[in-house]
């Protein structure tokens, strides 16, 4: 550990310093596509856009798992509902081409309702029973999406929905290269900025929720549901609200995904996706927004970075020792294990949690 003096503490709490940091961060995020494209290639801008999508998803799951302590293993279902809602109403499938500024909020609302519907049967369940039921719901939604092409073709089944309208306002389409103030913005950049805006909105909502009565009610339920009920908290409504809020974020992310990718199929919404989003939340630091963001960034970027194991081996050893395709996920799994062993409460947990954990370990001793 490196100890830094008290002057740092002083500095840390100075509001002017805080503003300076925020402005620097904002500037960095704005120029990120240009810098990344120049340094690493356009695929990394695309990865950055997906990182933002996953941050939204992870923050949504963070409400359910991190704040309210409800283990949800089927979160990808909300992502799927949001994506298909957009896809079905803005593509040649039904011949409807509704605008995105209508579909995204509507999709979010529909997903919200789904969250309530999925949460309702789980109210009496604790821990792993809840996990299995949510996992079941995730699978049920995916199976329905995969099979509702007969007798009435609603979702087009495993073939998926193609040629989804890109996100556009009138003539201004995000999928076309735009020019502004002398800079060119390819499609990926446009989507990146839209996702950035919405991610910031999601972060803002999460922050406000955390600090609100609802947020505290969630924490109360997470820590001790019986005591919370004794204190007068309506556990049923609060739990349903957690599911609803978490789901709504997933719905927004889903709609954006459909518009961005132009094609959705049930293969994108498997159990493994749910598990990965859960990993992002836990690995980053459950219940702590910066931690969750970090978790999402790492778990999306790391498998992509590991594609370069080939050139890395080339650079280090002069030749490729082991096929990078073989190693990629193996190293990823090892990284997961290593991080959890070294930092069990997450890479960037909230200080409250860390204190709790330290206190707990100190009291009970070691097994």
């Amino acid at each position: 550990m490196i100890y830094i003096s008290d002057r740092w503490q002083h500095w840390r709490r100075d509001p002017r310093v805080a503003w300076a940091v925020y402005i620097a961060l904002a500037a960095l995020l704005i120029v990120l596509p240009f810098v990344t494209d120049w340094a690493l290639g356009r695929s990394w801008v695309r990865i950055a856009a997906f990182v933002l999508l996953y941050i939204m998803l992870a923050l949504g799951l963070n409400i359910v798992v991190g704040y309210a302590g409800l283990l949800d293993l089927g979160y990808v279902a909300f992502f799927a509902v949001g994506a298909y809602f957009y896809a079905l109403l803005a593509s040649p499938h039904f011949g409807l081409h509704l605008p995105f500024w209508l579909l995204l909020p509507l999709g979010s609302a529909v997903t919200c309702i789904c969250g309530v519907l999925l949460g309702a049967p789980t109210l009496r369940l604790r821990g792993d029973y809840l996990a299995i039921v949510t996992l079941g719901f995730g699978e049920i939604i995916r199976i329905f999406l995969n099979n509702l092409d007969a007798p009435v073709n609603i979702t087009n089944g495993p073939q998926g929905v193609n040629l989804i309208d890109p996100i556009r306002v009138g003539d201004f389409s995000l999928a076309q290269t735009q020019s502004f103030l002398g800079f060119t913005f390819p499609a990926v950049y446009n989507y990146y900025y839209l996702f950035l805006l919405l991610t910031l909105a999601v972060v803002f909502v999460s922050l406000r929720l955390e600090d609100s009565r609802i947020g505290r009610a969630w924490v109360a339920i997470r820590e001790d549901e019986v005591a919370a009920a004794a204190m007068g908290i309506n556990t049923r409504n609060v739990k349903l609200l957690a599911f609803a809020m978490g789901a709504s974020f997933g719905g927004v992310a889903g709609g954006l995904f459909a518009g961005f990718q132009g094609f959705v199929s049930p293969e994108s919404f498997t159990i493994i996706e749910s598990i990965m989003i859960l990993c992002m939340v836990v690995l980053g630091g459950m219940g702590h927004i910066p931690g969750v963001i970090l978790g999402a960034v790492l778990l999306v970027a790391l498998p992509e970075a590991l594609r370069y194991l080939g050139p890395l081996q080339q650079a280090l050893f002069g030749r490729v020792l082991a096929d990078p395709a073989d190693l990629r996920l193996l190293v990823f799994g090892l990284a997961l294990i290593l991080v959890m062993l070294l930092r069990p409460s997450g890479l960037w947990p909230s200080t409250v949690r860390r204190r709790e954990l330290a206190a707990g370990a100190g009291e009970s001793g070691h097994a």
């Binding site: 792993d128 029973y129 299995i132 007798p151 193996l330 799994g333 090892l334 062993l341 097994a367």
Partner: protein, 309 residues
């Protein structure tokens, strides 16, 4: 009527397969409260190790009877899986015993990914055919067919369940396990070596995984590095359905899951007049599961874990 009987037979055998995997799963589940995602992969490694040994024996040309070769394969797989289970527990789970429960879950996921990809590197990506070593003479009754191998699997699952129940309720080790699962600290104070008991539980669970692995591979004739994933999920479902940590519950949950899936696949079509079909069999299974849990929130037979709040 004969279709009904056949579907029942199918369901029970499928259920016995799930039970075989779930029994090992629920042992660990009960004592640590840990969703051991890696259990399915240990089953897979058991199957692949056994296959490697069996292929060696067959390739050597020695005229040995099928069941003997299978037994040798099993004898080779069990120690490997036991060592693997012990290693996983020591390296990945023990350091996290005081940590939040979800930390161990993520580690388990990591272990699962590592084992899958390690198996992919060692045994390759292709599907391996498992030779038909065990007798499968069919018997017909009342229009349904069941063969020796199927009967053996059901009997084996029942035997293992009986053995585990005897272990947990009639031996000192079992008492120590029960004590540890209820309250590790007090058990330690009472003279139970908690670390050893937990390690032994993992080792026994992994040995069972090896048995399950070889039976699954022998029954379906296929072994593949990705086969553990779905099996692990089904075992998890079965264990929860029956009640976490409850051994009889795991058996019951497994059998019930198999029967539900079988009847679901067979009868959803006729029941809904063709509107839904057998592609919704998993939906049917999960809906039944959810219904059961709504009425019995701790599983069919209740759980056997300490009250973790």
């Amino acid at each position: 009527m004969d279709i009904f009987l056949q579907q029942l037979v199918n369901g029970i055998v499928l259920g016995a397969i799930y039970a075989l995997v779930a029994l090992g799963y629920t042992m660990v589940y009960g004592i640590l409260g840990l969703i051991n995602f890696a259990h399915g992969e240990v089953v897979m490694i058991g199957a692949l190790v056994a296959l490697a040994v069996i292929q060696l024996l067959i390739g050597s040309g020695m005229p040995l009877p099928g069941p003997l070769i299978a037994a040798v394969g099993l004898a080779a797989a069990i120690p490997v899986c036991m060592a693997l289970g012990y290693a996983i527990e020591r390296i990945a789970y023990r350091p996290l015993r005081q940590a939040p429960r979800l930390a161990a879950l993520i580690t388990a996921i990591g272990v699962s990914i590592v084992l899958q990809n390690a198996a992919m590197i060692v045994w390759g990506r292709q599907y391996h055919s498992f030779p038909a070593l065990l007798p499968a003479t069919p018997h017909h009754f009342a229009g349904a067919t069941v063969n020796d191998l199927q009967l053996f699997i059901v009997a084996l699952a029942a035997l293992i369940m009986a053995g585990l129940l005897w272990l947990v309720h009639r031996t000192r080790l079992g008492r120590a396990m029960r004590a540890t699962s209820q309250n590790p600290e007090v058990a330690g104070l009472m003279g139970v070596n908690v670390n050893t008991v937990i390690s032994l539980t993992f080792v026994i669970g992994s040995a069972l995984a090896a048995v399950a692995g070889i039976m699954v591979a022998a029954y379906y004739g296929v072994a593949h590095y990705f086969m553990g994933f779905m099996l692990g999920l089904k075992a998890f479902t079965a264990a929860v359905l029956g009640g976490i940590g409850n051994i009889a519950g795991a058996m019951l949950g497994g059998l019930l899951l198999g029967v539900i899936e079988s009847f679901g696949a067979g009868y959803i079509g006729p029941l809904t007049g063709g509107f839904l079909g057998s592609h919704y069999q998993d939906v049917f299974a999960f809906l039944v599961l959810i219904l059961v849990l709504v009425f019995r929130p701790s599983g069919l037979l209740g759980e056997r874990v300490s009250d973790r709040t």
